[in-house]
């Protein structure tokens, strides 16, 4: 979306809202419906924050020619500041890991020492002035005009230089620090000399290493870890998160180069990944992509991303992929619409301890781990599936939909946005399970609050996923429908609500759920303050809102606001979100 435009209209909350829905200005069709979703950005400061946060990047994506240009630039800079050749500047920069400031500092602190360490001689020596010389490698005698030397004047024949250079290049990036072959000499061999004697193929290799070094040995840059991606990311350390999105669209953590993992930190990710590989043998069965239908026992393959599974006819049993419980049990009665995150609750309800053996297993940490891992992995594969769906949507379905519903494709961006949001939410949700695994059992209040937030997130996302996946089907297969605009409103609204909720969730978890057990009433520190945007239905359907607030009563550390559903800390008497009294 074009944030520049948004900023112009920033004082007009309405138009901002429009932008949130679909990136379209065309909400004119049904103003009544649009009003339904107005509460999403009930405070326009929030969306301002959001937009400026997005447009502020603390990193730059570099393609090969960008890298090349920057490298050349730095070399020229050093060459002109220190009044040395470009070749010498390159040697210096390579030695100090391409840090212009470090080269500067070291050079002006002690030039002589730097020259010695790096192998740059102040007074280059020519070859000895005699007619014939013995090559120090092949021990043959040659006329001196067929000999070469680095700045030190140690003579070697061209053939031996070629062998020396070629061996070094084929040995790896160490060739960038090549020195004179004489064992007692440390004179650097510059790029010009190497290129003048290396074969075409070796020169290419050398240039490759040279370019790669600028990324790999540079503290500020890293390659994108996505397979086959050639972009590098230049990162300004300090402030902000480490999450970056590469030009190839892969999002990763610049710090640990794992896939983007907000809201959990890098340490947790590496612990979790290690844990996973340690447990992977035990986990193999979990990854199996099919489970028996709990009713007819036929194996069911989960082929849609959402957790709501319907068995093939004639059985048609609807169940939850995670707990294999009947989908009908997943309503309010069991404490949560679409929610299936409540491991503890499930255990207490007896789902997991039918037998004594099961009870024993419950004590086993593996089962606890399994609970989190399975949900982590399921969200991971749901995310993969959503990515594939998104691609299919863009390549096939949008065109088809445009045909069927008589809408220009430009009016269908809300669908792409919905899918992008699903992909992002699956990623966040996935990591909340690693977060949950490491959240100490003894922090009871936090755990309860966490599970509540996660449950809300999960149900919000399930709603969005359902809508984008299943409800869309009717419009893809049927003819033009007058309901299509309503569908647009609903999906765009869900997308926006869900985005908001997840962004707040991420912040709350990153803050270590600091509002819990603190003086929730007094702090408005961004944390959990607007998490309540989780339910778009609460306005339209009072009954569900009511159910939600009654559910929250068994979560003793919190109360759920009756108006906006926000989970407030027990100590608060006024809702932090909407300022309504309890």
């Amino acid at each position: 979306m074009d944030s520049e435009d948004d900023m112009h209209d920033a004082n007009d909350a309405e138009s901002l809202d429009d932008d949130f829905y679909s990136g379209e200005t065309a909400m004119d069709s049904d103003d009544g419906d649009a009003a339904d979703y107005e509460f999403i950005d009930n405070d326009s400061d929030d969306s301002d924050d959001l937009l400026s946060r997005r447009s502020q990047q603390n990193y730059t994506i570099l393609n090969e020619s960008d890298i090349h240009l920057r490298q050349e630039d730095d070399i020229m800079k050093i060459a002109s500041i220190l009044s040395i050749s470009n070749v010498a500047a390159a040697i210096l920069l390579r030695h100090y890991n391409w840090s212009v400031s470090k080269v500067n500092d070291e050079w002006f602190a002690d030039e002589e020492k730097v020259r010695r360490v790096v192998g740059l001689l102040e007074d280059p020596r020519a070859l000895p002035n005699v007619k014939e010389l013995t090559c120090g490698i092949c021990f043959e005698v040659y006329s001196s005009d067929s000999m070469r030397s680095a700045a030190c004047g140690h003579p070697f024949c061209v053939t031996c230089w070629q062998g020396y250079i070629s061996t070094s290049i084929n040995d790896g990036p160490g060739c960038l620090m090549l020195r004179c072959p004489d064992p007692s000499c440390s004179a650097a061999v510059g790029q010009d000399m190497i290129v003048s004697m290396a074969s075409h193929e070796d020169t290419e290799k050398y240039q490759r290493y040279f370019l790669r070094s600028f990324v790999e040995d540079n503290r500020k840059t890293k390659w994108c870890p996505a397979p086959g991606c050639d972009y590098a990311v230049d990162f300004i350390v300090g402030g902000g998160t480490f999450d970056v999105t590469c030009g190839c669209s892969y999002s990763f953590c610049w710090n640990c180069t794992e896939e983007a993992h907000r809201p959990v930190d890098c340490d947790t990710v590496s612990k979790w990944i290690m844990k996973n590989s340690a447990e992977s043998e035990n986990m193999n069965w979990i990854l199996a992509n099919s489970k028996p239908c709990p009713k007819c026992k036929r194996p069911i393959e989960k082929n849609q991303g959402c957790m709501h599974i319907t068995c093939t006819p004639p059985c048609k049993f609807e169940f939850c992929w995670l707990c294999l419980g009947a989908w009908s049990d997943h309503g309010e009665r069991t404490g949560g619409f679409y929610a299936c995150n409540r491991y503890e609750a499930a255990k207490q309800e007896g789902v997991y301890d039918d037998t004594e053996k099961r009870r024993e297993m419950a004590k086993n940490s593996l089962e606890r781990y399994t609970h989190y891992y399975e949900r982590w992995a399921t969200n991971q594969s749901s995310r993969q599936k959503a990515l594939a769906d998104l691609q299919q949507m863009q390549s096939i379905h949008l065109e088809k939909l445009s045909d069927r519903q008589g809408q220009p494709e430009s009016q269908l961006k809300f669908i792409t946005e919905a899918w992008l949001q699903i992909v992002e939410c699956r990623r966040v949700l996935k990591w909340t399970y690693a977060y949950g695994y490491y959240l100490p059992e003894r922090e009871h209040g936090k755990r309860q609050f966490f599970e509540y937030l996660q449950g809300e997130a999960e149900s919000g996302l399930e709603r969005l996923h359902q809508c984008a996946e299943k409800e869309l089907q009717t419009y893809l297969t049927g003819g033009p429908s007058k309901d299509f605009n309503e569908f647009r409103m609903k999906l765009a609204g869900l997308t926006s609500v869900t985005r908001n909720y997840f962004e707040n969730l991420v912040r709350a978890l990153e803050n270590g759920l600091s509002d819990v057990d603190g003086h929730g009433g007094s702090s408005r520190t961004g944390g959990t303050r607007s998490l309540g945007a989780g339910s778009s239905k609460s306005r339209g359907s009072r009954s569900k809102g009511a159910a939600r607030s009654s559910r929250a009563t068994d979560d003793s550390a919190h109360w759920s606001c009756e108006y906006c559903t926000f989970a407030n800390a027990k100590s608060a008497t006024v809702c932090q979100m909407c300022q309504q009294r309890r």
Partner: protein, 194 residues
């Protein structure tokens, strides 16, 4: 492809001052890629009086790639494997330079015998002993030198006789023994492979 013309030059050069250095390099077989180096144990060390054989193998990239060297004679030393004879020495790895030679490499190995570097061990057991109980280390090293690195007490004539009895022609036995520096087992190996 190994630069054989250089290897030839190296052999001539090395064997020219054998009386001064005590270091020699000889081809193990007809092709010049497998060689045998000999170094005397440095005086004033537990290796004194021993003669140590080094197996030398020249890789295709020689001299741009380092020669592969390992002890053929068993030796008790922190930087040399007591099992395999593998040597931990920087110039045989990343510090190799094509301007070095087999002789300079052997000289470095000889220097290593004089000055072990137990902090960068090849044989952890030996290195531990060297650091914790130098006396035991020194006597073990001396014992190994006595047992494995001394030209056997058998005189040359007795060795010749033994090998001739095994069915090899006397002339060949004598020249072979000479090439391998009087080592009976190596001579036998060479005679069998010829």
């Amino acid at each position: 492809m190994v630069d054989f013309s250089r290897v030839q030059k190296e052999l001539q050069e090395c064997n020219r001052d054998i009386n001064v250095s005590g270091i020699s390099v000889n081809p193990k077989s007809d092709n010049l890629t497998n060689l045998i180096g000999t170094i005397p144990g440095p005086i004033g060390t537990p290796y004194e009086g021993g003669t140590f054989k080094i197996d030398i193998n020249l890789p295709d990239g020689y001299p741009f790639e380092p020669p592969k060297m390992k002890f053929a004679t068993k030796v008790w030393h922190p930087n040399i494997s007591s099992q395999s004879g593998a040597i931990c020495l920087d110039i045989l790895k990343d510090q190799w330079s094509p301007a070095l030679t087999l002789k300079t490499a052997l000289l470095s190995i000889q220097a290593l015998l004089s000055a072990p570097e137990p902090d960068d061990p090849q044989d952890a057991v030996v290195a531990q002993q060297y650091l914790k109980d130098y006396q035991t280390f020194a006597s073990t090293a001396r014992y190994w030198t006595e047992s494995f690195a001394k030209i056997s007490s058998l005189g040359v004539e007795e060795k010749v006789q033994k090998l001739v009895e095994m069915g090899f022609p006397e002339g060949l036995v004598r020249s072979t023994l000479e090439v391998v520096g009087g080592d009976e087992n190596m001579a036998l190996e060479k005679l069998c492979s010829a």
